[in-house]
C-alpha cells in the first residue's frame, strides 16, 4: 500500500469511528431524554416481534417436536423443506403477504395491509420455520434418549410431545430466542406490508432504514444501538424468567 493510500484509509477509519461515536451519543440522548417517538417505535417493535414470536413458537415448537417423534412417508422431504424455509428471503415473504392482503388479494377484505397485524403475519411466516427447525434438532436428540422409556410407559403421541416440550424447554427457549432475533432485526418484509407509516407502523428497523436514506447516519446508528440493546435486554429477561442458568440445571 502506498503512503497516500494508507493515509486515506486512516482518515476513513477516523471518520467511521467518529460516526459510531456520534451514533452512541445519539442513542444515549434518545434514551436519556426518553424521546416520545423513540418510545413509541420501540414499543411497536416489541409488540410486533413478541406477538410474532408467541404465535410462531405456538406453531413451530410442537410441530418441530412432532416431526422428531413421528415417522411418516414424506418425513425427510418435510424436514428438508422446513430447513430450506429457514432461509426465506423476507422481501419475498413481504411481497407475498402484500399481494394476499392488498385490496385485490384474497384476504383484502380484512383491511390488514399497512397495519401491525400484517407485519406480525409476515414475521410469523419468516420465523416459524426457523423455530420449528431448531426445535426439531434438539427434540430429535431428546427423543433418542427418551424413546424406549416413553414407549415402555405406554404414552400416547400427545403425552410424548408434552413431555418432550417440557423437559426440553431450555433448548426450545434457544429456538424461540433465535426466532426473536430474526424478527426484531427484520426490515424487508415489514417495510413492504407495514409501509413504515409514522405513528402507525414505524418500527426501529424501518426507522433506521428511513434515517439512513435521509443521510442522518448518527440518528440511524443511535436507533441501531437501541435495537441491539433491546434485543439483549429481552434475551436476558427471558433467560432470567426461565431460570436457565440455575445451578444443576441443563
Amino acid at each position: 500500500m502506498s503512503p497516500k493510500a494508507g493515509q486515506r484509509a486512516r482518515v476513513r477509519l477516523v471518520l467511521a469511528m467518529s460516526d459510531i461515536f456520534e451514533g452512541l451519543k445519539a442513542a444515549f440522548w434518545l434514551l436519556v431524554s426518553m424521546d416520545r417517538d423513540l418510545v413509541e417505535i420501540t414499543l411497536r417493535s416489541l409488540q410486533v416481534s413478541l406477538s410474532a414470536l408467541v404465535i410462531a413458537s405456538a406453531i413451530g415448537l410442537p410441530f418441530g417436536t412432532w416431526l422428531a417423534i413421528r415417522r411418516f412417508r414424506h418425513r425427510r422431504t418435510t424436514i428438508a423443506v422446513m430447513n430450506a424455509l429457514m432461509g426465506l428471503p423476507p422481501v419475498v415473504v413481504g411481497l407475498i403477504v402484500y399481494m394476499l392482503f392488498s385490496r385485490t388479494g384474497p384476504f383484502g377484505v380484512f383491511g390488514l395491509l399497512f397495519t401491525p397485524a400484517a407485519m406480525i403475519i409476515a414475521q410469523v411466516i419468516i420465523i416459524t420455520p426457523l423455530i420449528a427447525s431448531i426445535a426439531h434438532q434438539s427434540m430429535r436428540e431428546l427423543w433418542a434418549d427418551y424413546h424406549d422409556l416413553l414407549i415402555s410407559l405406554n404414552t400416547g403421541p400427545w403425552q410424548r410431545i408434552r413431555t418432550l416440550l417440557w423437559d426440553g424447554r431450555r433448548a426450545l427457549l434457544t429456538a424461540s430466542l433465535a426466532g426473536f432475533g430474526r424478527a426484531i432485526g427484520e426490515v424487508g418484509a415489514i417495510m413492504i406490508v407495514g409501509g413504515n407509516i409514522d405513528h402507525a407502523t414505524r418500527v426501529l428497523t424501518t426507522a433506521i432504514a428511513l434515517e439512513t436514506g435521509k443521510g442522518d447516519f448518527a440518528l440511524a446508528l443511535g436507533l441501531g444501538f437501541v435495537l441491539i440493546g433491546l434485543a439483549i435486554v429481552v434475551n436476558l429477561a427471558i433467560h432470567r424468567l426461565s431460570r436457565t442458568e440455575r445451578e444443576g440445571r441443563w
Binding site: 431428546l142 434418549d145 427418551y146 424406549d148 422409556l149 414407549i151 415402555s152 410407559l153 405406554n154 404414552t155 403425552q159 413431555t163 423437559d167 426440553g168 444443576g248 440445571r249 441443563w250
Partner: protein, 238 residues
C-alpha cells in the same frame, strides 16, 4: 379387566432387523408366578427377547399373546433398562410421572412418590435433579419408577451391571420383596451368582434361540444341553 395379564405365550416368535434374524423362532410361556432369569453369552438375544415380550420390539413372525385384552397388557407391565433412562426432572417428578400418566391426582402421586423415595433411601434427594444421581441411585430410582406402577410383570435388563456390591444388594432385596408381593419378574443377567440367588427358573439363550428353559435348581444342577453345561462351567461359548 382380568386379574392378571399372565401367562404370556410366545408362539413361533421371530424378530428380524434388516433381513437378519435376531431371535427366534421362540415358543415358550411365561407363567403366572416366579422369578425368571434370562442367561446367555453376549449377543445371544437376551435383551431382544425381553424387549419383544414387553412390546418394544416388533414381531417379524409368530405371536406374543397376553391373557385378556391386548390393549390392557402394556399398561400392566414395566421395564427397567440396563442404562437407566432418567427424565430431565427431579427425583420426585421421575417418580410421579407414570402415576400422573395414569390419571393419579398430583397430591396422591406426591404422597406415593414420597413413600417410594423413603423405601429406596432417596427421600433427601427428592427435589434433586435425577441426572445428578450416582449410577446405583439412578438404577434404584428407575426400579422404583417401574414398581410404582404396580405392574403384573416387571422386565429388567441387567439392572445391576456396572453397580458395586452394596447397590446390587439393595436392588436384589427390592426385587425379592417385589417378587414375594406377587409381581412376576423376568430379568436378564450375566452374573451367575445373582442368577443363583434370585432365580426360580432360568431361560438359557444362545444364538437367538431359547436353548433351555428349566427350574433354577434343575438348570444349575443338571443342565440338559452341552452348551448350557459349558456356560455354567465358565467356558467360552459363542
Amino acid at each position: 379387566m382380568v386379574d392378571t395379564i399372565l401367562p404370556l405365550v410366545l408362539s413361533g416368535a421371530v424378530v428380524k432387523r434388516r433381513g437378519k434374524t435376531l431371535i427366534g423362532p421362540i415358543n415358550t410361556e411365561i407363567s403366572r408366578a416366579g422369578f425368571t432369569i434370562v442367561m446367555g453369552p453376549n449377543g445371544s438375544g437376551k435383551t431382544t427377547l425381553l424387549r419383544l415380550m414387553h412390546g418394544l420390539e416388533r414381531l417379524s413372525k409368530g405371536a406374543a399373546v397376553w391373557q385378556g385384552t391386548q390393549l390392557e397388557a402394556p399398561m400392566r407391565q414395566a421395564y427397567v433398562f440396563q442404562n437407566p433412562i432418567m427424565l430431565r426432572r427431579s427425583v420426585k417428578e421421575n417418580l410421579t410421572y407414570p402415576l400422573r400418566l395414569r390419571g393419579v391426582s398430583k397430591p396422591a402421586a406426591a404422597t406415593i412418590a414420597n413413600d417410594w423415595a423413603t423405601r429406596i433411601c432417596l427421600s433427601k434427594a427428592l427435589e434433586q435433579d435425577a441426572m445428578n444421581l450416582s449410577g446405583g441411585e439412578k438404577q434404584k430410582l428407575a426400579l422404583a419408577r417401574a414398581l410404582i406402577q404396580k405392574p403384573d410383570v416387571l422386565f429388567l435388563d441387567e439392572p445391576c451391571a456396572n453397580l458395586d456390591g452394596r447397590a446390587t444388594r439393595e436392588i436384589e432385596e427390592l426385587l425379592l420383596e417385589t417378587s414375594r408381593a406377587g409381581t412376576r419378574i423376568v430379568m436378564a443377567t450375566h452374573d451367575m451368582g445373582q442368577a443363583r440367588r434370585l432365580a426360580t427358573e432360568v431361560m438359557f439363550m444362545l444364538r437367538g434361540r431359547l436353548h433351555e428353559f428349566a427350574k433354577a435348581e434343575v438348570f444349575f444342577e443338571l443342565p440338559t444341553t452341552p452348551q448350557a453345561r459349558a456356560f455354567l462351567n465358565g467356558d467360552i461359548i459363542e
